[in-house]
Amino acid sequence: MDHTSNNERLGFVKKDHLILAICGLAVFALVAFVFYDSARPEWQTYQTEFRDLVEEKFGPERANSVPAGIQQVYVRELGRADRCITCHMGVVWKGLESAPEPYRTHPKEIIDKHPIEKFGCTSCHGGQGYATVTEAAHGPLEQWEEPLLGSRMGEFYVLNDKQALMQMNCNSCHRYDRETKGASFINRGKQIVSERGCRACHAINGRGGTVGPDLTSEGSKAPDQFNYERIKGFHSEFTWHVTHFKSPKELVPETVMPSFGFSSADAQALAILVMSWKKETIPLAYLPNHNVRDVPTVEEKAKEERMLSGPGAFFVKKNCFVCHSVSTLGIDAAAQIGPDLALAVTDVQSRFGRTLDDFLFKPTGTMEVVLSTMISLSPDERREAIEKLRYANQLKQQEVAETAKKKK
């Protein structure tokens, strides 16, 4: 049988040759596209522009010293490889302070204290350091939880200081500082925490009350661990915190957290602060003064001891002091949302038309909720409370009498 004529008899051979040719061309075209695509990465355009800028400003010699290719800062201690400087080439250059982004020199004061070799970029700025394309590097994107905390994000959340969200990352290391230079939102948040006595209910940095949830690792919660049913519009953890700080009951009707009437700026400052409280391991060398604990000040400690050992200790132990001061027994309320209990004996009578004994055994209104959910008092303890409040009232009467005398 003749081999060639045999092939000719087969109708499929010609067709096979044709399909083979088409497939071959398709493979060639696709491979060519891959090469073409990878031969002109986005960062190359920025590097060319940067070189032109340097040449224009400093002459061709310095332009030749501009590195080419993907650049990165690798910080072993923090496990970060930040490739931001592939495009942001001017970060450590002098004399490009007024150049357009991404070529501008980094503000000097802050980078002097936080050298790029030690901190990288993303530990402060957020974003995806691994990425070598703008979209993936800056975010926000679904697959990367930490977008660049820059002015675009700040504008979106209408912050007074567009860069303020970044302070969240400052507080990773500066967590135990009382005050951090330049971190105005974090400082304001910390000031509120101390003034409003958040610790009366919440544990913060491992220290505080147990009435409310522990906030030590609040920032490590996932966004979907919050309930957004009552939030209209964009659902983000940051929005949740801001809304919640402004009006806790609006988001969580059953909450006992009082509304403090925070301004938007204060609520934002607090949201930034609580979201900065992450569960993360920071190398000791990165913590300012190697400070690894949130230590109360001498005054705070003295006050705490005074309250716990004084005649009003009962009201601290039973958490009454979260809302109520008992001024004559030396108890200072943390949140100061309830009336001073030194006046309770007369106050209850005038408000509810009932005696204190009667009221405490059969409370109404807010106190009914509080005494049936958060604070449980046995009948003996209720009697003890009444006795102590009577004593506090006596002291108050004496005090009033004395002041009246002095005035005379």
């Binding site: 049988m1 081999h3 060639t4 045999n6 092939n7 087969l10 499929f12 051979v13 096979d16 040759h17 399909i19 083979l20 497939c23 071959g24 398709a26 493979v27 696709l30 491979v31 596209f33 891959v34 990878s38 993907i70 990165q72 496990g79 490889a81 490739r83 691994y130 990425a131 070598t132 394309v133 993936a136 926000p140 697959q143 990367w144 939880e145 930490e146 977008p147 905390l149 994000m153 959340y157 969200l165 490590s220 996932a222 966004p223 979907d224 919050f226 957004y228 659902h235 983000s236 953890e237 940051f238 949740w240 979201m275």
Partner: protein
Amino acid sequence: MNVTASLRSLYRKLTWTWNPQSDKEAGDAIVKNLLLHWFPNKITKGSLSWGYSFYLGTISFVLLVILVVTGVILMFLYVPSVERAYATVKDIEFTVSFGWVLRAMHRIAAHLMVATVFLHMVRVFLTGAYKNGSSVGAARPLNWIVGIVLLILTLLLSFTGYLLPWDQLAYWAITVGTNIASAAPLVGKSLRFFLLGGSEIDQNALIRFYVLHVVFLPGLLFLLFSYHMWRVRKDGGLAIVDHEALQQTTEQAAPVKAKTYSLLGITGQTSVHVRTAVVDEEKNSVPSAPNLARRVWLVTLLTFAVVLALSLVFRAPLESPANPSVTPNPAKAPWYFLWLQEIVTITTVSIGSFTVNGAFVGGVLLPGVLIILALWWPFRDRTGVNAVGVWFAPERRWQNRVFIAICLLIIIFTFVGTFMRGPYWTLFWPWESWPEMPVKF
């Protein structure tokens, strides 16, 4: 001899097996070329036809080759450690030259291979190709069993590869998968411990899955694949050959010329005139070199082109780093196990005080029953030789209907699990959009 002629002769020496000029050369090509040695000398037109086999086995093999080549390159770049795995995959995506395309191709080829191996099994069942025909020494049921094991190995290879990037998708798919495995009676808990190398998904689990993925399972797969191919030859080629043999008729052919011969000059004679019968099989056969070889090249190029094109369109996603304390919503197994996850959901019901353990039903009982049924079926199927190597043989009508129904259910449940199960595992129609999940900022 001038240079051109010697070059031409050298080229011919190197390539003649791919383009034989005579039937003799075509036969020699099969013997002398390593790549062609697993082909038969001649192949029937039916075996070559697109419509019989759809070349699904060939496509699966080409995908396997793509997976091995891209996989070996990825092995140079990937570090199987909990601390570094994620970062190395990010590096492959962003800084390694062509890293992203290698990874995307590896992923697409893996997904496609699961699909083509499954479709190959469907084809073999619907053509009754697991049945022995008339050829001597055939053991097609055995090769069907080997095929089922190869399908399971393919699924396991894909599943073990799923964990390696150490991102949220990986971590939680393995969580779902190993939790289902732990629903096996008696050995469940130990099985999960054995799979993970501990009670938590951590470094031990990662290195176990890595070694399984790059050494153990591929080794086993190649061993069984070689045997699978060898058996195809031993079983007389594709089952359609047996079907063609049934149809063949003998016809008178011209008598072969008588030959005069001598033996060492001692004796000599003229042979007898023989009248032979040419059978259709011979008439319908063509040399494998270059006809089958050309087809295989064609399928190879086509598969490669499709994989590369899909890789350019669907970039391999990488989610946030694995975080045991944050569960994605919904947490899903890999897509080819979603029909099982769907059945787990459906069968987790309480009737009064009696609770059905869905993980056991969907994760252990049902796949177990299906596998045993598949292994046993060739021995149960007693239809005749007419039902071998032919699509939808009337004799096998009912088995084919039941088989198609089971496959359709698997495909439908897979679709539902993949595209219709949204956050909180709620059912959404394909045209309904899922609620937007909250983000950090």
